[in-house]
Amino acid sequence: MRIVAIRRLGNCSKVPLQKFSRVGSVLQSESDIRNVLNAPSWTVKELIQDNQQAMEEIHVDSGTIRKMLKLSGLETNVTPEQEKKLVQALKSQMVFIQHLYRDNDTDRKDKEENNDSHFRLIASDHKPGEPLTLKSLMEQIKELPQQVDPEKGETEGSFSLQDLDPKHKSFVTILSNRG
């Protein structure tokens, strides 16, 4: 059952909230607890069960596999057996991910299509600080030399690339042949 809770906004009018989670009543005894725990409502295995029909509806071909391998910086020259395993893996993952879209609450409306929706547990996303002004930016630039951190490699000589890989004394990049 959906319960509507009321939110006060200072002097603004009350705004109804939809509530999808629920707090039940107090369990009075060990017997109550045991009865609740002996009545499971689902199994996690239903998320990973073989669903042949769903697998067949997902199209993953050889071209897709090679494209993904290339995007991943991995060898694209795989054997037919390896390719078959990869196709199976991608299809299984997609069937698993389809559970994201299984939503029984038909009253929920999806947000409008946009490219800027995100959700992170980062403070500045939810509690923005003071706006950055030109004056504060210029002050930060002035203070920058005092704020560089050798641990981040921001000062000359703090660490060298040779320290990261002692086996290779020199550091070279390889250019492909041009022209």
Partner: protein, 522 residues
């Protein structure tokens, strides 16, 4: 910022009963059913370390002085490398952690030895700086004695996906034992095993979807994952940066708390670190008044897959909390059912991005004979040096993000946001960051309680066979730990018998989680 007039904080009374007092009640479950572990204080910790061999493969590298049975000059197991004498951490003889030793998961950087993340890709990588958490602990007088084995780059729940061989669970395997070797859980299996084997006072792991709590449960130790953002990730090799959290493992809850207090600091070098003003604004339950809590039992964790033994422990712990005067209520958080799908969409996508930096050019593994173009070299390095599970997750992540498959990352993010709001609606305390849907009704929960894992750790061979048949089998056990990860909630696994019980608190309310844990274990 929330004004105090909006929120009614219920008055608390001093603790009247403890778990130990209840356990003497004849109505209590048999004592053998529970095992309240305590770290031995009769021998000095270094004596224990010197006499203990690491037959569980919990450590990838050890520092000199850890064990007299290991060559002091061979600091890496199986290598001929000389240990570095470079010591650039500040230590003290007066800190709060003097006379303790610790092990860090080998995805946390140190300067004295390689930081491998149990991957061939980083097998030769030496960090130029220590992770913030290492510096803080050393500054408080604790001694780092080794780097713990793990699932490669944090990807796995068993600590069998490692370049250095699987970790063996010390709870099930002793020296000269013919018993079957069981998994230690993962990905922080080495951290949990090292503590269970008494190789260190405590260890650090990283918890992305349960990787501290699950191995803690399997190895019979305490594993604490604080609120996301409380502990610095500077120097932690990232797997999925919106979820990675440094966690603490130990046999002693007081040590866990001490370590947490040392590490719970803002770090300007970590852009996801909770800022100081946000930390000050977090409303928490008063730690001095912990009687008469309301404990939520999430209905979505009541699954058919739970073993009878785990269910029985869950019943017993809740029943005894009732006897202590706490209330137990069922709660429903529907998005928990979508949490595994959301999690494995987000982590594979973030991993694919994070691991793209490993090309073997500037650092890391590179093939000896460079053929063809730079691209060919990078492909050869990555194909050779990443393990099978890592390669699969990168592929799956890139596929999830590609237009070929759909808009799944965005959908998973929406599920995550909904999950956080559903948690908010069952907790009494407001969320420190996402607090715009404040429900003024009272009688909600202070903490949530569930098992940490659905059953016992399987034998290594059985686990490998199951995952070979279907890699998704490895995901099942994460259902109990992933929701707290997605919501960034503080969560701890406490050992009861051979299983773990998980306590979760509202975002930022780490103190209540720790305080209730202490009252259960003291």
């Amino acid at each position: 910022m929330l004004r105090s007039s909006r929120i009614q904080i219920r008055p608390r009374c001093a603790i009247k009963t403890t778990f130990k007092q209840v356990s003497s009640d004849p109505c209590f479950a048999p004592a053998s059913f529970f095992s309240l572990k305590r770290l031995s204080t009769t021998r000095s910790h270094y004596e224990q370390l010197d006499s203990t061999k690491d037959i569980w493969n919990s450590l990838i590298s050890k520092r000199s002085g850890l064990s007299k049975t290991i060559e002091d000059t061979n600091h890496r197991i199986g290598s001929n490398a000389e240990p570095s004498n470079k010591e650039n951490v500040t230590t003290t003889s007066n800190g709060s952690l003097v006379n303790t030793s610790f092990v860090v998961k080998d995805n946390i950087t140190t300067t004295q030895e390689e930081t491998t993340s149990a991957s061939q890709m980083l097998s030769n990588y030496k960090s130029p700086f220590n992770a913030t958490v290492v510096s803080l602990l050393s500054a408080e007088g604790s001694k780092l004695v080794g780097k713990a084995n793990l699932d490669e780059l944090g990807m796995g729940s068993s600590s069998t996906n490692t370049f250095y061989g699987p970790v063996i669970n010390p709870l099930y395997y002793k020296e000269n034992d013919d018993n079957t070797k069981h998994i230690a859980g993962g990905s922080s299996g080495g951290s949990a095993a090292a503590v269970a084997a008494k190789l260190a006072t405590f260890s650090l792991g990283t918890d992305t979807g349960g990787s501290v709590r699950l191995p803690a449960s399997y190895c019979g130790v305490i594993g604490f994952k604080p609120t996301y953002g409380r502990i610095s990730r500077w120097g932690v090799v990232p797997y999925a940066q919106t979820l990675d959290t440094v966690g603490v493992l130990s046999e002693d809850i007081n040590i866990v708390e001490k370590v947490y207090r040392v590490l719970n600091q803002y770090d300007s070098k970590d852009p996801t670190s909770l800022p100081e003003n946000t930390r000050q604004e977090i409303i928490t339950t008063k730690t001095s008044d912990l009687s008469f809590l309301t404990i939520g039992l999430p209905e979505e964790f009541i699954i058919e897959d739970l073993s009878e033994e785990v269910k029985e422990i869950w019943v017993s712990v809740l029943a005894n909390l009732q006897k202590m005067g706490h209330k137990v209520k069922t709660v429903s958080i529907p998005s928990i059912r979508h949490s595994l799908s959301a999690y494995y969409t987000l982590v594979t996508a973030e991993a694919a991005s994070n691991l793209s930096r490993y090309d073997g050019v500037r650092y890391g593994y590179s093939v000896d004979d460079i053929q063809g173009s730079a691209h060919d070299m990078i492909v050869a390095n990555r194909t050779k040096a990443f393990g099978a599970e890592v390669q699969r997750r990168i592929l799956l992540g890139n596929y999830t993000l590609s237009s070929d498959s759909g808009d799944h990352y965005k959908k998973a993010t929406q599920v995550r946001e909904r999950l956080v709001k559903e948690f908010n609606q069952v907790f009494n305390l407001p969320h420190a960051l996402v607090a715009d849907d404040i429900d003024l009704s009272t009688g909600k929960c202070d903490i949530l309680l569930s098992p940490t894992s659905i059953g016992s750790p399987p034998p290594i061979e059985e686990y490998l066979q199951q995952t070979e048949e279907n890699f998704l089998n490895a995901y099942i056990n994460d259902i109990l730990t992933v929701p707290a990860s997605l919501a960034g909630l503080p969560a701890i696994s406490l050992p009861f018998g051979n299983h773990g019980i998980q306590i979760m608190g509202q975002f930022g309310d780490d103190d209540t989680v720790l305080a209730l844990s202490k009252s259960l274990l003291d």
